[in-house]
């Protein structure tokens, strides 16, 4: 992923840098109630400094080629995050994670971002498989891999967080060959 990448006229991704910490923290802070339902880390993100620590870790992951975290700017405003975790060079697989502020929902932002990141992982990183994991009741999050043509591979019980409890984690997968076939059809 380039340090900044234009997705279309409205969306730009930038690899997170410590200078984005205040802006990113402000977005979490103004969406606290909305985000905490599925993301337990929100309650541990209380100050700018917590977001700065997250960004530092994500940059260390990038240096180790384990993944990256990027901010999503929609018409000039920070709207959310998309990242890649646990890149496995032997299995040639990786996992994409994401979230958006509430006011940015319903505009197709995450679908467009995911499409760009999946293409990058298959074409530039030469991976064989990309997964997206979502909590069973998180309908909005599950809609993204479904819309992009991912295959639902299973529901791992009790491995997702929901409002302080555990629920099933749905695993969606896409293989490089499937992605190329789907892109050919578009």
């Amino acid at each position: 992923m380039m340090f900044a990448q234009r997705i279309d006229d409205e969306i730009k991704l930038r690899i997170f840098d410590e200078r984005h910490a205040a802006e990113s923290f402000a977005l979490v802070d103004s969406n606290r109630e909305y985000l905490r339902e599925y993301m337990p880390w929100v309650d541990d993100t209380r100050f700018d400094e917590d977001t700065r620590a997250f960004i530092r870790r994500s940059r260390a992951d990038m240096a180790n080629e384990n993944g990256f975290a990027a901010g999503i700017w929609y018409r000039g405003n920070l709207a959310g995050t998309i990242g890649v975790n646990s890149i496995n060079r032997f299995n040639r697989k990786a996992e994409i994670g994401y979230w958006l502020g509430e006011e940015f929902q319903g505009k197709g932002i995450m679908t467009r971002c995911c499409r760009a990141v999946v293409t990058y992982l298959f074409d530039d990183q030469q991976l064989e498989k990309v997964e997206i994991h979502a909590a069973e009741t998180n309908v909005r999050s599950r809609a993204i891999p479904m819309r992009l043509g991912f295959v639902e591979e299973g529901t791992l019980r009790m491995l997702a967080y929901h409002d302080g409890k555990r629920e099933g984690l749905v695993v969606y997968g896409m293989l490089a060959s499937e992605w190329r076939a789907l892109q050919g059809q578009r």
């Binding site: 791992l156 009790m158 695993v171």
Partner: protein, 192 residues
Amino acid sequence: MTGQAMFHARIDDRTELRPAEEEDAEAAFSLVERDRDHLREYLQWVEGCRSIVDMLALIQYARAQVEVLNGFTCSIWHEGRFAGAVGLNSVNWQFRCAEIGYWLGEEFEGKGIVTRACRALLNHVFDEMWLAKAEIHVGVTNTRSRAIPERLGFVEEGTLRLKAYHNGETEDLVVYGILADEWRALSHRSHE
């Protein structure tokens, strides 16, 4: 040292599980040498295990996992001979879930050793460590290995494509899971 590292069990009158130790390296390596062609099919580490020193490094790695509360490994001793290993990998404390893994020399197969070892491990996982869930991950074509969670009453939760090792390539990975309540219900029934 934590309670989970001290796991030790006699699983029948001829077989016991003991925490893997560096002194096991020689016996473990000679079993790998003898069964290499059999073991290498589904176990990725076998290819790189070419000497007692390599085996020692694997045992040291397993023992380091204990220190960071990530799991533990037990050697399986059958009639005083090293027969294989069973253990707990990648303990996820956030969700209180861990994965059970095992391997056995070919001549020790078909005696129910791994099934009994897993049963002892599951009692420990749920009663002593208070985990909420255990998983077993198996390559889709590894019929013998898949029989273990199926026999123990695990639920098949999904088939994750291209995530298991098979002869230097990847194949689909079947995830089996059992919850603490399910295990207690099953063990209760088998005692009636």
